[in-house]
């Protein structure tokens, strides 16, 4: 049958399924949603602040000043316009520390997810495609990781390996990959029998190439959605680890660590724990909003 005789709807559908058109349609759907736009805006502010931290912070985040300690926020009695969100127990500027803290949160959030995606996608592809015993082993490993409260496992291993930025990233990455493995594996299993894979195989294309060129692109939208939502989780987990005292170390301010310090002074200086928490809330909420709308726009199945 010549292409010209196909009904026009088929052609339109085929055109829309191609990546650029599909992606722009998803983007339009996203852009029409006010909640998602708010999320994107907050994210732009947070990412911008993190990138430009050394140039936009009013003070050095580590600079102490005993005369200025416990300065309340500017609108409260005794506030000082030079320290808009107040100062902590050793007189460091809270706003500057929050802006610098955004760097750690975003860095850990994104890199931990990259680690998880790399592990999860690889294992999911292998397990789905090879099947058999490897598949059973992998699913058992997923079962085992689900038996631990994830935070507890991360906590124990970060402490045992020695707290550092790299350890936190690796441990969070290594405890969060199973969702990708499951999604990719399911996708591989359903695609394995499809005609176009069969055709590719009949043409003599090797397994690895089939996986990378034909199977992997089909899992793309699920992975985008899952990883967006995991960034939000990883930021919360990093904050929890910092709060519990096994975070990325004491040299650089993190939101969780600021809240932990603030807990001790909660009765004298409410602003100490409040503002870093609001920073976490805003960032995570923004990512969740974007992730949720992305899910609606890209992939109705998950």
């Amino acid at each position: 049958m010549a292409v010209g005789s196909l009904p026009s709807t088929t052609l339109a559908y085929a055109g829309e399924a191609a990546r650029p058109a599909g992606a722009s349609r998803a983007w339009r759907k996203l852009a029409r949603n006010p909640a998602a736009l708010v999320g994107v805006f907050i994210l732009l502010v947070v990412v911008g602040a993190a990138l430009a931290a050394p140039w936009i912070t009013p003070h050095d985040p580590a600079k102490q000043s005993l005369i200025r300690r416990f300065t309340p926020p500017v609108w409260a009695a005794g506030g000082n316009a030079a320290y808009p969100l107040g100062t902590d127990q050793i007189g460091r500027d809270i706003l500057s520390r929050i802006i610098h803290g955004a760097r750690i949160s975003l860095l850990v959030g994104v890199l931990a997810v990259v680690v998880s995606v790399l592990i999860g996608v690889t294992l999911g592809l292998v397990s789905g495609f090879v099947g058999g015993r490897i598949d059973t082993v992998l699913m058992t490993v997923v079962d085992i990781t689900w038996s631990f409260p994830q935070l507890l496992l991360a906590l124990a291993f970060v402490a045992a390996l020695g707290p550092s930025l790299v350890t936190v990233i690796l441990v969070l990455g290594f405890t969060g990959w199973e969702r990708y493995a499951r999604v990719v594996r399911a996708e591989v299993l359903s695609l394995r029998e499809k005609d176009f894979i069969e055709a590719a195989r009949a043409m003599g294309i090797g397994s690895v190439r089939i996986l990378l060129r034909h199977v992997l692109p089909n899992t793309f939208s699920s992975i985008v959605v899952l990883s967006t939502l995991q960034v939000a989780q990883a930021i919360l987990q990093e904050a929890a680890l910092s709060f519990l005292g096994v975070g990325s170390g004491r040299t650089y301010p993190t939101w969780g660590q600021m809240i932990a310090l603030g807990r001790d002074f909660v009765s004298v200086a409410w602003w100490l724990p409040t503002f870093p928490g609001l920073a976490i809330l805003a960032t995570v909420l923004a990512i969740n909003l974007v992730g949720d709308r992305l899910r609606d726009a890209l992939d109705p199945r998950i």
Binding site: Q150, A160, F243, G262, G277, L285
Partner: protein, 304 residues
Amino acid sequence: MTAFLLRRLARLAVVIIGVSLVTFAILHASGDPVSLIMPEAPESDRVVLRATLGLHDPLPIQFARFVGNAAVGNFGRSFFHRVPAFGLVLERMPTTLTLTLLSMALALVVALPVGIYGAVRRGRAVDQVATGTVFLGQSMPVFWTGIMLILLFSVQWRLLPVSGWESWASVVLPTATLSTFTTPLLLRIVRSSMLDVIGLDYVRTARAKGLSEWLVICRHALKNAALPLVTVTGLQFGLLLGGAVITETVFAVPGVGRLIVTALRQLDFPVVQAGVFMLAMIVVSVNFLVDVLYLYLNPQIRMR
């Protein structure tokens, strides 16, 4: 059905071995335990200690010994307290379980009615407020929620104690904090599984019979919506225990979570291992129970 149970039991055994392996790995990830136990001792003493602890043996043998000891509740002595680590964990287990179960109950008490109501009156004010709160709740760090509650109820209004676990009043804030951790997710599941069921033919039939709306919802729809809820509630248990670790630290509740966090700061690994192992065992058993319960609730599996 017996075959299903046997398969589940076999998997349970494998998972328990896996859990032991991971717990075993915690100590070995920390490097040399001997330098943690006696940091300033001369090399000759260390060699003796290494030999008594069996650290010269090959790893598989050490692991086998660890599993054998763990099976009888022997995780060694706490480096710090010099008493058996398992006892320390057992003493604090009731507190953690009480906190977790109370929070789970509170979460269900909130999530069930609100979720059902939201699904029935989809898109109305209550539903929209609930959905918005779910988003907010899922984006808040638990420890921060706890501190904000302290700020309001203990510092500002002086209604409830800042920390501890002695009186009923001191139980309120930790329970409320921990339940904000699970309520959003439960609410979401209740709402979506109710929505799945509400549109089905048999619900319409029940309505057509002239049954009152709430009878239809509670007797007919809820029964079928309960299946995913049971699974999720079970899976939530692990998450809740993780949240309990944080909540106990914020409110200085003397539970297993706080014990583990303190032990980690002191690099007291026997206590960490005993605590992590016990909490994981609870999650494993709850998951197993959920599977068995699922079997009873779902006739499709029961028949096979």
